[in-house]
Homo-oligomer: 185 residues x 2
Amino acid sequence: MAHFDDASILETTVESKRVFDGLILHIDHVNNRLPNGKLAAREVARHVGASAVVPVDGDGNVWLVKQFRAPIDQILLEVPAGKLDYKGEDRLEAAKRELKEETGLTAGEWTHLSDIVTTPGFSDELISLYLARDLSAGQSHPDDDEFLNVVKLPLNELVAMIARGQVTDAKTICAVLLAEKVVNG
Amino acid sequence: MAHFDDASILETTVESKRVFDGLILHIDHVNNRLPNGKLAAREVARHVGASAVVPVDGDGNVWLVKQFRAPIDQILLEVPAGKLDYKGEDRLEAAKRELKEETGLTAGEWTHLSDIVTTPGFSDELISLYLARDLSAGQSHPDDDEFLNVVKLPLNELVAMIARGQVTDAKTICAVLLAEKVVNG
């Protein structure tokens, strides 16, 4: 796509001001110079980032977690995932930690699937997606304020649920459909 | 999954307080009663929601947009998409509007692919995903502060780019991989 004129759509930041410091979100108001010379206000939520894992066992089952999500007031079916402990933490290490914490699993084979930005219109959250195979069971140890149920589903059944619109978590849809392409060739 | 005990992982909201009102984000601090009786603070960004469209033309090309995204300071390749004008707006109507605004296209055939929650850990944003076919070209009219380039790519080439990790926008990955299953059967 090199023939497209990226310069004609670039913005440059003139000013950035922190307007809110929260528990996990830090909001900046950014004043950007547009390609036409005018200024535009952009609202940006800074987030530490996260890793997520599709654990596929020897029987072709994906290990998932169900957990309550306060923002949508619902229990959601998701791949194991969690925030980085700090900005710049090794993302594979974070994936290994979250997999172990939430499911007790450790994995002998790790494949990086992709990195995704979840909401580039308003936040900088980036989630690294991994496929984990050659699994070994162990003891889970969720965080103190984390309650979840572990669920196992055959990969192909999970993909069919996604195609029917029965899975709504974006990182889970991305990770599972990418994992499917690796596992099923 | 009815045999899993959802009641054991439910939280109930004790108190919710608006702590920040921004341009597009409104942040609440929510105090939730955990399954063990303890209280936990949850930070929730309220967002109006959005619709996104995978427009596939008669030649099997997907029409995409490249646009600058301030939160990640990068130009991103995305399916046409945009925020609802107001909470509760008809999501298919919003999809039609955004497709027309960003690409000039109208479509004779619309298929709902899925609804996704982009960041259920910290926001309630829900994006409705549609496949649009039977396309007709027309005049685009982006918003005043919106600069974008329209790009056409064969669906199968776009899917291959996603599989190689060359597309990072989560809604685009979800929408295109779901559209692929419908288009390719």
